[in-house]
Each structure stands twice: as C-alpha cells, then as structure tokens.
Symmetry: C2
DNA sequence: GCACCGACTTGAGATAGATCAAATATCTTT
DNA sequence: AAAGATATTTGATCTATCTCAAGTCGGTGC
C-alpha cells in the first residue's frame, strides 16, 4: 500500500485529525501495514508491545484463556478502531492475545512515533489520554454489567448499545442490530455460555421484543426491552 | 494546610516527581484540600468532574449500586493514590460514586492545572498516560478474574497481591496481609457475597494455608495457596 | 445436488454461589 | 461498663447459569 494511502487512512482517525499534514507524514513513516486472515494471531498474551494497531477492515477479538482452555473475549475491534495503546505506555507485556475473526487489514503505528508525537503536540497527547479514558470507561461499564446485571440484562444492554443509531426517537420499532461476530464470540464477550445466549435470544423473540435471523437482530418493542433491561 | 505542605505532598507523588519546583507550585495553587469523615460522599455517580483527587490519608471506595440497592465496590483507594483522572479527560459524568470508608484527607487538583501541565510538559503527560494505562491494566485483571476464576481463586489472588512485599523468597511463610477495609467491602470488591467470603476464609484457615485474626491475615503455606489459586 | 463441518439450538441435570435467617462477635457511644 | 449498632459467622435452602449430550441448521466444497 502506498504511503499516500496510509496517510489518507490516518487522516480520518479522530486521533490524528487536526494534525498537520507533515506531522501525519511523520507518523505514516513509522507505520507498517499487515494483512491477516481469519484465525491468525496478531500477538500473544505475554508478547512485548512495540506500538499500537488500527483496524482498516475486518474484525478481531482481544481475549484471554484460562488454564483449562476456556476463552473469554474482552473486546471486539472493528474498522476504524484502535487497540493496544494502553500496553504501550507501560513496561508490561500484553495481558490478552489478539486474533483475527475475519480476514483483516491492520496498521501498526510504532511506539517511537507516538512518543515523539506526544513530545511535540499537546493536542495529540490529550487525544491519546481521551482515548485511553474512554476505553477505561467502557471497561468500568463491563465490570458493572458483569457484577450487577443478569445474563438477560447484559444481552439487552448489548442490543441497545449496538442499535445502529436511528436517532433519538424513543420507540422507533424495527431497529436493526447486526452481530459483528459469531454468536459464540458475542456470548463470550458478554460472559455467557453459548447455550444460555441462544436461549435468551429465543425467549426475547418468543415474547415479541426482538426477532432474530442469523446475525441480524431486529428490535420490535424498544420500550418493553428497555423496561426488561432496567430492573 | 499551608501551601508549603501541599507542595511537599505533591512532590512525593510519582506523577509530579521530576517536575521543577515552580511547576509544582503552579499545580499547588490549583489544589484544594478537603477533610471528609467516614461515610461521607465525595462525589456521586453522574456528577461532573472538575479535576482529580489524591488521598493524603484515610481510605475510600469507588462503587456503583444497582437499582435494587446492591452495592459493588470497583476500587479501593488508600494514601498516596489518586482517583478520578480518567473521567477528567472525557466530557462525561462520573460513572461511579466515591465514599470515604475512614476519616480521610484529600487533595483536589483542578482540571485546568492538569491541562496546563500537559501543555507545558511532555514528561508529565507521559506519566498521566502511564497512570491511566496502569489503571486500565488492573481493570482488565479484574475482568479476567471475574470471568475465569472461582470465588476462592479470587480471594487467593487478592491475598497474594496484597502480601506486604516480603521480597522474592519463594516460600516465606508467615507473610502478613492487612485487609484495608471491612470484610464486607473486600467481598464486594471481589464480587462475592460477604457470607461466601467468610466461608472461604474459614476453609482456607481450616486447611492450614492461612490464619485469620480480624483484619489480619497470615499466609502460612504460600506454595499450597498458590497451587490452589492456579488451576 | 449431496455430503460434510462447524455453528447453533434444545433438553436434562448438576452446581457454585446467592439469599434468607439466626446466632455471635466486635466496635461505638453513652 | 452496658446498650446499641454494625459486622461477621454459620446453617439451610434456592436458583441462575453452566455443562453435557444430542440433535438441527446452514453454508462450502466437491
């Protein structure tokens, strides 16, 4: 891929917006593109970090597995999203592994470029801080969900979060949610067994709140669903 | 408290070490001291953030509660530790509330001072990033523990993490752990009911791995405990 | 179009940990 | 030091969710 194109991709990221073209070029120079196919590991738990990643297209998961081999998906990363920033700022190996769940293209941005960027540009630095903060915020949300909500509530929470932003209408029926990965993976993300996930989806369908066709979920009764999810 | 003393306290924090005295003074100028007694709320979930806090002495908890009133402690903060940084970098209200679990003294550092600091000093910025990263890392650890480990394993993990650093000896028996809060609070922190926590401590005592006297736990057989916690 | 393979569903049963309740123990306040 | 209040322990029971097992569905390659 030409460095022109890399430049263009970087320029669309919130992180680099507002950066001057020459700064972006500097970053682009320290960027490595890679293509991975479904199932490939990008890094293992315990590997040292040399930078962070941007997903150009495809989908991957961050996860760890127990000694018994049970896998727990912590995070799903799709196009335009970044991962691996946090580890870069500590002298620590990756606490999770990253695996492609679809053929994907990635950009790797070298740690050195980021550290230079911080040195030069306080705005960049603040964006980096904002990015980390928002990841932290969503992890707190996960902790809250795992500890205070039932499986059904977590599923409903997930569906509501992933409605494809039809706007502010309160009870717009027919909202469409596309599951970005296999149901087994989503279940793991929600810390539920696949069987339980399947049953919950079934039950929500049966009571007319949603309808499910493969990876497409349609929210039929938003209010009822919200109510169910609330308390 | 005199601003001299504030200056001295700030200077001991890793975050401000390496900063010049005049810079620290600038920070100190934007610092507000507060004393809270046991049970007092420092901020509520939903409150807007105007800076972050340093604990001078005392102990507090960050937590949220479910609609049914069940409380879940996310984080315990003791002397020398900071909290509330992450929220400061986003336009979001606090996702948790903070409550003193012992009479405490706090320093509040205004957001504006932090943002100025970032503007001026890339080292400070990097430390801020490192701080957030490390918090994020430990949250990932929590998520891992909640999703892959049993209650007993979490308790053991907690005890092993909180041994008061007797060094690298592998099987130094008699390591002493002091629970920094009531057992009910620790249990919540570990996402366990108080009853279950009590029983686990009892069982570990019964099998001779630890001994418990109030808030003092002594690890008697480190190896056995580790083994138990592993798998 | 058919056979195969992984993903999903459905049923039955098992269980870790929660909840409820009552008895102690510990800390606070007077 | 006694009375209350709060925290902890212990026992008995309950239940949400997991696990195991057996289909069924849906896409892919031949």
């Amino acid at each position: 891929m030409s460095s022109i194109k890399v430049h263009a991709i970087l320029a669309t990221l919130p992180l680099f917006k507002e950066m001057g073209p020459e700064e972006i070029d500097r970053i682009a120079q320290n960027t490595r593109e890679s293509h991975v196919s479904r199932g490939e590991i990008i890094f293992q738990r315990g590997d040292p970090s040399h930078g962070f990643y941007v997903v150009i297209h495809g989908q991957l998961k961050l996860a760890f597995s127990s000694p018994q081999g049970v896998e727990k998906v912590v995070h799903l990363v799709g196009p335009g999203k970044t991962f691996g920033e946090a580890v870069m700022f500590m002298d620590m190996p990756y606490p999770v592994y990253a695996q492609a769940i679809a053929d994907s293209a990635l950009l790797h941005i070298a740690r050195s470029a980021v550290f230079e960027g911080i040195e030069r540009d306080p705005v960049f630095c603040r964006k980096m801080l904002a990015g980390l903060s928002s990841r932290l915020h969503s992890l707190i949300g996960d902790v809250e969900a795992y500890s205070l909500r039932s499986c059904t509530q977590r599923v409903i929470g997930y569906l509501l979060q992933h409605d494809c932003g039809c706007g502010a209408t309160d009870n717009c029926a027919g909202i469409h949610v596309n599951l970005p990965a296999s149901k087994t993976v989503i279940a793991s993300r929600l810390n539920i067994s696949p069987e339980t996930f399947s049953r919950i989806l079934h039950d929500l369908s049966a009571s007319g709140m949603i309808s499910v066709k493969g990876k497409d979920v349609t929210i039929l009764d938003m209010n009822k669903l919200r109510e169910y999810g609330q308390q």
